[in-house]
């Protein structure tokens, strides 16, 4: 967990300027309009970054296994970036951050090191009611402005961007195994179970985060897979989504109407 003083000096100066009324955001014009329509206004573009050395972990050539050290590293690095972004939002007095993007960049100068970046637009409710989450922090969400407006119409409120990760090493096949099934169309249960387990672990961890926030559910779940720089047999399974809770008021969903789009 980082402390507010972790933020660079320049961040403080930039955020101070934003406190005087000027706002910055990466929202499109339509997103800006809908954020306002939902009763929020943007406070500023916020970000958090962490350059993390991911290290190495021994893996057995013929064994499928979770690489827990790498899982931990990928998790911590993203948490650091997210926490710093939340701190910037907190400093602006925001209720939440919308349109959060989490990226990983690699640089030539830092072998085995990666920069984890979280960026988004801090927003605040115009009527002064607090929309902070159960932990007293600004909510985070990867929802676009349109999606944010829509979810608010359904009576659900974002609580936080939740994620789960699992770095898994997939075993190589030995000569014996290969010869044993040569020419056959067969399921390889060990591989099936390994990949199944890896994805389920990532999704379980994501759900655990949502439960910590007291969420009712998670919308827009994405399951991403990347080998980063580890080679083809080591894969990171990352599960991401926005945790939401059901609001207290009764909501009547508007009946859909047929429309003809003039966009095309």
């Amino acid at each position: 967990m980082t402390q507010p003083q972790d933020l660079p000096k320049e961040a403080g100066h930039r955020l101070e300027e934003l406190e005087h009324g000027l706002f910055t955001s990466d929202l499109s014009v339509n997103e800006f309009l809908l954020i306002k329509e939902a009763g929020f206004h943007p406070l500023g573009f916020v970000m958090g970054s962490s350059i993390y050395h991911t290290g190495i972990q021994a893996r057995r050539w013929s064994k499928s296994q979770e690489l827990t050290k790498l899982t931990e590293a990928m998790y911590n690095a993203r948490e650091l970036a997210m926490t710093r972004m939340e701190e910037e939002a907190d400093q602006l007095g925001a209720d939440g951050v919308v349109g959060v993007r989490l990226d990983v960049n690699y640089y030539e100068w830092g072998r085995d090191a990666a920069e984890f970046i979280a960026v988004g637009t801090a927003v605040k409710a115009e009527d002064g009611t607090s929309h902070r989450n159960k932990l007293g922090k600004p909510f985070t969400s990867d929802l676009s402005g349109q999606d944010f407006w829509t979810i608010m119409q359904t009576g659900y409120v974002p609580q936080g961007l939740v994620m789960g990760t699992c770095v898994f090493h997939i075993a190589h096949r030995g000569i014996g195994q290969t010869l044993g099934t040569v020419g056959q169309n067969v399921e390889l249960p060990n591989f099936t179970q390994a990949l199944y387990e890896a994805r389920e672990l990532a999704m379980t961890r994501m759900q655990d985060e949502a439960n910590t926030l007291g969420a009712t559910g998670i919308v827009g779940v994405r399951l991403e897979e990347k080998s980063h720089q580890w080679g083809s047999h080591t894969i990171e399974f990352l599960s991401l989504g926005t945790a939401v809770t059901k609001g207290t008021g009764d909501v009547t969903l508007p009946k859909p109407i047929t429309v003809i789009s003039l966009d095309n």
Partner: protein, 321 residues
């Protein structure tokens, strides 16, 4: 091959099924968790609530399959086709042969005096097994959370790492119909559709039954004309110019692959209809005009349950998305 639907009348292919109760432990723990998860976009989520569907969990199924080594498909075993040159293919299996039109004169050892297009049912069966097993596991997960259906199904196949194995991955959002009963046979219905498209389907009077998908695989052994047309060397035999002409053998192979995929899917529909058909053809070029054409067709099997309601009058609008 077929994804078993809730009210499968048994008139389609039975489909491959995976073993029951073989979900990983983590799946059980995740599905027992307190919050729901959903792979739906927010607009789809909103449309889902509007229709009276409650998301309960993101469900998924996997199967890693080894693709058998096919002597008949290898470029080193030309001639080892399942159907000898000029021979009859088994009933219902596509095959056609081509003969050299150059008078039977062998210009060199490499001159291909015969060629053949043939269906590869063993590849199709392997694909069906992998898809069917992954699908059954997804249905098993959906059953564990008491779902009535699975919407927004997405299926992918990909080669795993650098091994000669293929992974089938199917996932979707399990939903409960508010106030609805258990589906027939207690098997959740499934659909590739979600959100607005699903709402429009129901509005139009159709209900989803199950996703259906099939692969057709056709192997092309090029004969001399196809080889020369593909390599641009026909002028050796036809004068000093290259005529514009159809590569008939390949055209027919491509048509056959699409037609076979359609037949496979038709066999799974029974008296129902297919909605949102998507056909994806992949061609793997080997050498000397030889090819493998794989054509996957997928869509949602739908059944009429009410008369079409008149649509309200449309009005122009500008989207903010």
């Amino acid at each position: 091959m077929v994804a078993p639907g809730p009210a499968d009348t048994g008139d389609g292919d039975p489909g491959a099924t995976g073993p029951d109760g073989d979900l990983p432990e983590a799946a059980g723990r995740r599905l027992a968790g307190g919050s729901f998860s959903s792979g739906l976009t927010v607009p789809d989520f909103a449309a889902c609530l509007q229709m009276g569907l409650r998301p309960v969990a993101l469900v998924q199924g996997f199967c890693v399959m080894q693709w058998g080594w096919y002597g008949a498909g290898s470029q080193y075993t030309r001639g080892m086709t399942p159907f000898t040159y000029g021979g009859q293919a088994p009933p219902g299996v596509y095959s056609e042969s081509y003969s050299c039109p150059h008078g039977g004169f062998v210009y060199s050892n490499e001159h291909r005096i015969w060629g053949q297009n043939y269906q590869q049912p063993w590849v199709e069966a392997a694909w069906a097994q992998g898809f069917g097993s992954a699908y059954s596991r997804m249905i098993e997960e959906a059953g564990e959370v008491g779902a009535h259906g699975v919407i927004g199904v997405v299926d992918t196949t990909r080669h795993l790492a650098d091994m000669n194995v293929t992974e089938f991955h199917i996932l979707g959002t399990a939903v409960v119909v508010e106030g609805g009963g258990t589906p027939p046979g207690a098997t959740p219905w499934t659909t590739y559709l979600a959100g607005q498209r699903l709402a429009k389907l129901v509005e139009a009077g159709y209900m989803p039954v199950s996703v259906v998908a099939a692969l057709a695989s056709v192997r092309v052994w090029a004969y001399c004309v196809t080889e020369m047309l593909m390599e641009g060397t026909l002028s050796r035999f036809g004068g000093n110019y290259m005529p514009v002409s159809e590569v008939e053998q390949l055209s027919r192979a491509h048509m056959a692959a699409r037609s076979l995929a359609r037949e496979h899917v038709r066999g799974q529909l029974g008296n129902d209809t297919l909605q949102g058909a998507q056909i994806v053809a992949n061609t793997q070029s080997l050498s000397q005009g030889d090819e493998v054409i794989e054509c996957a067709l997928r869509g949602t099997r739908v059944r009429r349950f009410k008369d079409f309601d008149p649509m309200p009058a449309a009005r122009p609008t500008v989207r903010l998305s």
